[in-house]
Symmetry: C2
Subunit: 476 residues, 2 copies
């Protein structure tokens, strides 16, 4: 790292020297089973929030746990160079809750007993939340700490805003943002919940898919029937549901909902070309998830399929008898959780309307249906020409010693949309996860090398934005 | 009933006089929760078997409870006119176990608290097992009792053979029949597990559908995936399973498994004509199950659909997340219980082979599958030209005062096939249930009028077969 700026260099050295202690703090955080969807973990979820308040207080923040009707929010402020100094305020967002650990029997070590094991890329941390989002959140917490240790302050103003409901649909997020918009005002948001390109190549995510999550229930007979006495005469809602779902894709893997692709905005040719230059090893990706052929649309790269193409996936199916052995029942109803990943241009409401028409047209006679929308949020495009994005590019180059690539992300981070619509700010998406991190799955992990890169990138971002502001103050 | 034979007439009068006590005994039997699929009811299931042994012993049978590896068998013998007298032996089969009562909250009274309520056809008994099979079994037990009370004996030789595993797949039945074939030797079997045409019209069932019950499991990724990060790239086994099931029927409701209809033997024209003469009120049947249109093949009557046409019904579906709310998962696997009702001519093994080919050809790339066969039994056709069927027709006319119709049954009674293949005997299927008896469902019931008809029909059958044997002895 020959060109590291002089203010930053001792901060990066400090991160190296403090590495084992940082891992120890991260482990302490991971040991708190903050499973937000399960009320029996409510105390632990709160404990994780309080742990963050304590950490931030140690780092010179004015930090508080704020109650909501669900899990509390962590809100903390630091004035960096001083309240009176003209410097941008960065809003760091993260979440301290984690997915449920089930199925427990597929874990090699306890999900809440953080364990460091050796892997092909060196050591890795295995635990629920290792990457999503406790590990990523710790990368900027440790960057704050190193700045504080070396310079006694931060070079920019910072607000930390952490929720405990991300894995359970963030019911309190929008009301809290609306009620506290003035307090949370900032120039840009920073979110680390995405991935780098690979362990050595930094990435900025500039495109996120949206999500429409629905539940389709098909009703047939008024009560469960004996399939011998009624089979062939009674409409079967489980068969009917399967028929509808089976028709949701054509032979080329395209979604058949009317109007589904009408408003899709394709990435510009330069972006597509940059993605192609990444030369993703598709067979390695498929091998990593244990399949010999991809799903989705024919004749599209895997990067296009996950970053810029919309999808339709069944997330759950339930009907009739599901225990061991045989029960000869025609079920009274059958249901499916069906979600759609949306890309820029698509309007969730329009897709819902098309889906309703599609189900009505496809459902066999004798069945009725109900379509419930759990949530819908459009895709996000981050502007690529802002000075903050410029600073982020430079910071990633400082930390990794090589330029960042601009990528898309197949997942949805609804908070990015809420920050835009409620607080009026864009978001820098700097993430350090890898595709094989097993987020939401047993043996979730985060490479220690990625953790190290993340801490250093955040330290560099603070520097780059601070330097940009200082240069502006000098010019004025 | 002007033409009732003199030997039978006092037996029928005795049944009338004893009716309330018969209902009381039946209620006692219904109060024993003999749920064979649930091990926590094992003691109660055995108690129901012992209750039958006690009843049969009182009626002059040599009765025993015989242990198996599962629930015990009841075996009881009565030599009727005497071991040395040439008279046919009738093997009465029934089962003393019942379906689980779930869902409990849909019952209007306790499933094991037999309750008599008024309905449009008079009084009815509501309880789990009211009709299937405790109520039907009691009809011949009470016929034995009335003969015994009036004549001090039975006019024919009788073996009673009751199992306690019918609702859990009868695992001990075939081994027991094979080990005790000599002891169970008889001239004809009698089974009351079917229906009459209506409350006033007796029926003999001469055609039963077979059953092939399979479980199809589709595997995709090696572990559950985040549908944001992998959606569009990963094959989704839940979508794939739905696609296969959706393709199992064509637009006319015909099953698309290769060769499915190749060997189907259609009923002869006279039989079809007789069925058409029954003038079933199809809209009433559909209203009874709460639907406004039938399922199954286009342009077939409901009677054909359920008696002589093969089917494919999904009995259960399970994949991914099925709890409340939303979870964005691409499941690693998805499974369905898929059963086929078979008609005369169809070979279960051949259907399995066709189904395997069909799934392999239909399954989208990237998914694998496993097809497990829970059980398979071909359809049954009972010869309609035997003297026993002649006696049954006469007996039903004695009891109801009008001729019996010959019908089919959509359900499977595997024991009928086992009696034929292991004991070498045909079965008389005289049943007294109605279509709306809610077998296997909450509020299962049996009309008291049907119970009365059943007792009298069995009393008359004993007489008719006895008279046939006596006439033969006289002729010799």
């Amino acid at each position: 790292m020959a060109d590291v700026p002089p203010d930053l260099e001792p901060v990066l050295r400090r991160l190296d020297a403090d590495f084992d202690d940082a891992v120890a703090r991260w482990s302490e955080f991971l040991r708190i089973p903050s499973v937000s969807t399960d009320p029996s973990y409510n105390d632990k979820t709160r404990e994780a929030g309080q742990w963050l308040v304590d950490q931030l207080t140690q780092l010179g923040f004015r930090a508080e746990l704020r109650d909501t009707t669900g899990h509390p929010m962590v809100v903390a402020h630091h004035d960096g160079p001083g309240a009176e100094v003209a410097a941008p305020r960065l809003l760091y967002y993260g979440h301290y809750d984690v997915q449920p650990p089930d199925p427990l029997d597929l874990w090699d070590s306890g999900p809440f007993e953080p364990t460091i094991v050796d892997g092909p890329r060196g050591r890795r941390m295995v635990a629920r939340g290792a990457v999503d989002d406790k590990g990523q959140l710790m990368t900027f917490l440790e960057a704050f700490r190193a700045w504080q240790a070396v310079h006694g302050t931060l070079p920019v103003k910072v607000t930390a805003f952490f929720e405990g409901e991300e894995e359970s649909g963030s019911p309190s997020l929008v009301p809290f943002l609306k009620q506290n918009a003035a307090e949370l005002a900032a120039d840009i948001a920073v979110v680390s919940d995405t991935g780098s390109w690979d362990v050595n190549t930094p990435a900025i995510t500039t495109q996120l898919r949206g999500l429409l999550y629905t539940e389709l229930t098909v009703q047939g007979p008024s009560h469960d029937l004996h399939s011998g006495l009624y089979g062939g005469a009674a409409p079967n809602p489980a068969n009917a549901l399967a028929r509808v779902i089976g028709a949701l894709h054509d032979a080329d893997g395209r979604v058949t909902v009317p109007g589904f692709y009408d408003d899709v905005v394709d990435p510009d040719p330069e972006t597509l070309e940059q993605w192609n230059r990444l030369e993703q090893d598709e067979s390695a990706v498929l091998a990593g998830i244990g399949v010999d052929a991809p799903g989705g649309e024919a004749a599209r790269s895997l990067l296009e399929k996950t970053w810029s193409r919309p999808t339709c996936d069944v997330n759950g199916l339930l009907a009739g008898y599901t225990g061991p052995g045989a029960k000869t029942v025609i079920p009274a109803e059958a249901s499916a959780k069906i979600s759609f990943r949306l890309v820029p241009g698509q309007d969730p409401d329009k897709i819902v309307a098309g889906l309703k028409r599609f189900v009505a047209d496809t459902l066999p006679a004798g069945c009725r249906f109900d379509l419930h929308v759990h949530n819908g949020s459009p895709a996000i495009k981050v502007p690529t020409d802002s000075p903050f994005l410029e600073a982020a590019r430079a910071a990633l180059a400082d930390a990794y010693g090589r330029p960042a690539v601009q990528i898309g992300c197949g997942g949805s981070i609804p908070v990015v949309g809420e920050f835009k619509s409620i607080l009026g700010i864009d978001t820098l998406l700097l993430g350090f996860g890898l595709d094989d991190d097993r987020m939401h799955s047993p043996n979730e992990k985060f490479e220690l090398a990625c953790f190290d890169n993340g801490m250093k990138a955040h330290a560099a971002l603070l520097h780059r934005v601070g330097a940009m502001a200082a240069a502006r103050r000098t010019a004025e």
